[in-house]
Amino acid sequence: MKHKLMLGRYIEGQSLLHRLDPRSKLAGMLCFIAAVFLINSYVTLFIGLVFTLIIIVLTKIPLSYYIRAIKPLIFLIAFITLFHIFFHTEGARMLKVGVFSIYSGGLEKGLVAAGRMTLFIAFASVLSFTTQPDRIANALGSFLRPLKRLGVPVERLTLMLSLSLRFIPTIFEEAERIWKAQVSRGFSLADQPLKEKAKRTIALLVPVTSSAFRRAESLADAMEARSYRLGASRSQYRQMLWKRSDTLFVLSFTLPICLITLFN
């Protein structure tokens, strides 16, 4: 647990991005996903990268936080990259290693795929670092509201979502606490064979899960005790307020989309 999980955490701050309406951030996120899907070359990857870096600078959160968010997924990214490099045979042959050959097209595909994943994670981190989970859920809820007429249980979905978003960091903290409790009574992963390591890590899941269930139970009690009812009209503590900066923020995403389409 040396590398604390950063993905899905909220980090307090006063930046422009912290102050934006969660709906505009969510809309921006969707635009960004579209833009990233369009990326398929070094040049367009570079454009996406520059744009992401600008947004990251605007959050006023150090780059090291984003790097920590990406770290746990580094193996997945590496795997995808290698997969592309070894199995695409377009372009000029650059290198021959035993039975494998590396082609320039494969290399580009691999690196671009890695870049796209990295951009996704970085941008998802921008959203979660600068927006409290319940605000993300509220924004999603307001996007889904039109579906209510079609009989979609929007409120239930929003509540579910906001509770699960709210609980992700809690469960990590819980795991960390139980980990601390075990470590302070002699539990150790160091100097253990791999099999034992796996066994002990899984053993950690049992108390974490059971305590998550207990937490859920007491949360349900607490909500009931304070007369929470699904569908009841309720005022919100934090009103969502769409400002001009929000419109500008969403519009700014047309720039990378256009540029990426242009250079494709």
Partner: protein
Amino acid sequence: MGITFEQVSYRYKERALKQHLALDHIDLSLKTNQFITIVGAPGSGKSTLLQHLNGLLRADHGTIHVLDMVISPSPAKLPKGLNQRIGLVFQYPEQQLFKETIWEDLLYGPLNFDMSKTEAELAAKTAAEFMGLDDLILAKCPYQLSSGQIRKAAIAAVLAAGPEIIVLDEPTASLDASSRLELMTLLHRQCQEQGRTVIVVTHALEEVAPFTDQIIVMDEGTIAFVGKPHELVNRTDLIDKAGLQIPAAYELYAALQKPLRLSKLDHYPSAAELAAVIKAAIS
């Protein structure tokens, strides 16, 4: 051998960008084999300090010497046996018990520290008796216990591993008045009879005053005072800041000191001691 902090600093990093220092260049030197009390306002860094003693938190800077072990900032390895020799009872003991039953929890430490099964069972049994946990409680799962019982179980689980230094973070919270006194007396006995070091965090001076050899006052991540408990009495600034209360018996003694021409005290008197002194003075 003792406990020494040299310029130890720690900052919680995960949540917010600009966290103040939870420990701010701490220098501290303590002798072992005594009863040490740590007090301070909420958020002054007491729990953070304690968690540095057994390596749960690693200092950003500075070195900690405990017994004959040296804890350097990560990535240096933690010394072997640190967890066994220093037992930590958490501030929230329900976070500390994670096994299905209390009995299994008591066995967890001893078994991890390479005791044989019979040795471990003996250690667990002894600790359970020491803390007054009966078989009925031992068979239960932690969530079926009252918070006072959980507290006792958590302390027993730490004692079972036989640590040389026992560190307890607000152990008397959620205990009734008589259990509090009983617990402090038990801990004091551990100190005197077994030669163990006891470190207790508390908000109630009254509870620990008769037992404490050294008291430490923390303030905003620094050490504001180290000394004998009765020496603290004139530092009203610290006492107020830490939200402490001078034990009533001492206040009474101080008030009667001039009229009854009592001698200066070098400790906090118990109520019984005070009564005896007053009796002697009037007759």
